[in-house]
């Protein structure tokens, strides 16, 4: 890094014919051009140095975070299980949280993904250009709203608004365990949380998908249209297959946000032990549990919360690896060759 930067500083433009703003020669070249020296070589070194250090930096940060988590979580794993979580032991403590986190994240994705794909397709392939631009801005604006605002909206507007719906669900579909009554009178339930999370991840999935849909090669869209495809058939034939890896990445980005979301869940959910019903108060997610208990935690209970964080970290990592694997499974047909 330093060496390359030095070379940049020492080199100077050699003549009026050089157009590049980068440095022109390396220290070896005198007057005549030699085989060993090439114009822009110093710039190349600066660039490769910067790229390499950026790559290394990411790895260092990742390893540092993982090492911190493991070290700090370690006592929670080796301590006598009777001392953890009021004597329940670590796994009895963490499993309900994992289940709650996964349920909230999955419901939010099930709600958000079709809506996001629809909106993204509308913006990229259906809407008139002006409307598409306005919608695009609105979506980006939505993505910029801090999660605490979503939490406040969820607790003060969405939760009360959903109460009659929950009462109806409990009375008419109560035989399904997830809608078991009595319904919460405040609406501060895991289902409300899931809907808030869905609203939060919609802008993320939408804006990533929109960018990818717009990148579909004109060539393939025209190939489909020239075969007599309607617009929807063209989308199914050319746009969606091309965008498939991108859609998966976008959904995984949304999943990452939903899994790790803390503030909105902590505000909205009236938490409690794990229960099957989504419309009663109860359940909890890992991130919200850490946030709520962290201020008063010390000693082993602090280790326990960090261990919960480690579990969330590993879980998110696993989700991402699975996503990568899904994307790479069809590499042969990706068009990259």
């Amino acid at each position: 890094m330093t060496k390359a930067a030095d070379e940049t500083a020492h080199a100077s433009p050699k003549g009026p014919d050089v157009t590049s703003t980068e440095t022109k020669t390396s220290e070896h070249s005198g007057g005549a051009r030699k085989l060993s020296s090439r114009e822009g070589a110093a710039g190349d070194k600066v660039f490769s140095g910067t790229a390499l250090s950026a790559g290394i930096l990411i790895l260092v940060v990742l390893v540092a975070v993982a090492a911190f988590l493991v070290l700090q979580a370690f006592p929670a794993f080796v301590a006598p299980q009777s001392q953890i979580a009021d004597g329940k032991g670590f796994w009895a403590y963490i499993v309900p949280l994992i289940v709650g986190t996964v349920i909230a994240a999955v419901i939010s994705l099930v709600v958000a993904t079709p809506i996001s794909l629809g909106v993204a397709l509308f913006i990229s392939h259906y809407a008139p250009r002006r409307l598409a631009q306005i919608l695009g801005y609105i979506i980006d604006l939505l993505a910029a709203i801090p999660s605490v605002i979503f939490g406040a909206w969820g607790i003060s507007f969405l939760a009360p608004a959903l109460v009659p719906g929950y009462a109806w669900l409990a009375s008419s579909l109560g035989w399904i365990p997830i809608f078991g009554g009595p319904a919460s009178a405040t609406g501060k339930t895991l289902l409300t949380v899931s809907i808030v999370l869905a609203v939060m991840v919609i802008p993320i999935i939408t804006s990533v998908c929109r960018e990818i849909f717009l990148q579909t090669p004109k060539l393939h869209e025209e190939a489909a249209l020239a075969l007599g495809a309607t617009r929807w058939e063209m989308i199914r034939m050319a746009v969606l297959p091309f965008a498939r890896p991108g859609i998966i990445s976008a959904v995984m980005l949304g999943l990452g946000r939903a899994l790790g979301e803390t503030m909105a869940v902590a505000l909205v959910l009236s938490s409690g032990p794990l229960i099957a019903s989504l419309i009663q108060s109860g359940n909890q997610t890992i991130a919200a549990d850490i946030a709520l208990n962290f201020p008063e935690a010390s000693g082993l209970s602090l280790n326990q919360l960090i261990a919960a964080g480690l579990v969330l970290f590993v879980f998110t990592l696993a989700v991402n690896i699975v996503a990568r694997w899904i994307i790479s499974r069809h590499k042969e047909f990706s068009g990259a060759n």
């Binding site: 869209e221 249209l225 007599g228 495809a229 034939m237 047909f333």
Partner: protein, 259 residues
């Protein structure tokens, strides 16, 4: 079934800009017609009006009539999607669907109409279309491999197979060989000669030798200057265009004095 095309006084616009002006041309069934002319003279634009593909570009529209065996493609109530199933198209760069196998590429258009075909029917369509495109022997052992794994020339013939699988009346080709090497070009030109037994073929080309080799009739398009609309200058038998053109501009162009 092959059909004839009659174009009457066609003007093509991109928004307010008139790109092609006053084209009238009669294209015989079962023939190969070549469009030649300098870049930007509107020949590709005009070609794309013959299956309403120009409408894909926002703001593009036409005035005039294009008759396919007497049916106006721009008549009221005509669905551009239906037009394109009758008038197929092959593009400048080979564009097989990258996510589909060779077999699925051939069937892409056939499956569109929502028809449920049995496996033996689809096998028949795949084989006859690939044979029709002179590609069967090269790919019959790897029909389930991706179409994007073929060479450029093979990909272009795959696109032709895909176009003829829907049994169109007319096949439009927009510089189909400009991205291909000479040997692949010859293979596609041979194929064009065979296609005219069954289809009306219209081809845009920058290569005048190619026009002379493959076409029965040739249309020369030209443009007066930048920002002016392209016009059809001369349309005649290919031998007449190349050996005995009536217009000075045609003679200059085919003899290489400009363009």
């Amino acid at each position: 079934m092959s059909k004839r095309i009659d174009v009457k006084d066609l003007n093509v616009y991109y928004g307010n800009f008139r790109a092609v002006e006053g084209v009238s041309i009669n294209i015989e069934a079962r023939s190969v017609t070549a469009f030649i002319g300098p870049s930007g003279c509107g020949k590709s634009t005009f070609l794309r009006t013959l299956n309403r593909m120009h409408e894909v570009i926002p703001g593009a529209h036409v005035e005039g009539h294009v008759l396919l065996d007497g049916d106006d493609l721009y008549g009221p109530g005509v669905d551009p999607v239906a037009v394109r199933t009758h008038v197929g198209m092959v593009f400048q760069r080979p564009n097989p669907f990258p996510t589909m196998s060779i077999r699925d590429n051939v069937l892409a258009g056939v499956k569109l109409n929502g028809k449920k075909l049995s496996r033996s029917d689809t096998d028949g369509v795949v084989e006859s279309s690939l044979r029709g495109a002179n590609l069967w022997n090269e790919v019959k052992d790897r029909l389930d491999k991706p179409g994007s794994g073929l060479s450029g020339g093979q990909q272009q013939r795959l696109c032709i197979a895909r176009a003829i699988a829907v049994k169109p009346d007319v096949i439009l080709m927009d510089e189909p060989c400009s991205a291909l090497d000479p040997i692949s070009t010859l293979a596609v030109e041979d194929l064009i000669n065979e296609l005219k037994e069954q289809y009306t073929v219209v081809i845009v080309t920058h290569n005048m030798q190619q026009a002379a080799r493959v076409s029965d009739k040739t249309a020369f398009f030209n443009i007066a200057g930048t920002g002016k609309p392209g016009k059809l200058i001369e349309y005649a038998d290919t031998t007449a265009i190349f050996n005995n053109p009536k217009e000075k501009a045609t003679e200059d162009y085919v003899s290489g004095r400009f363009g």
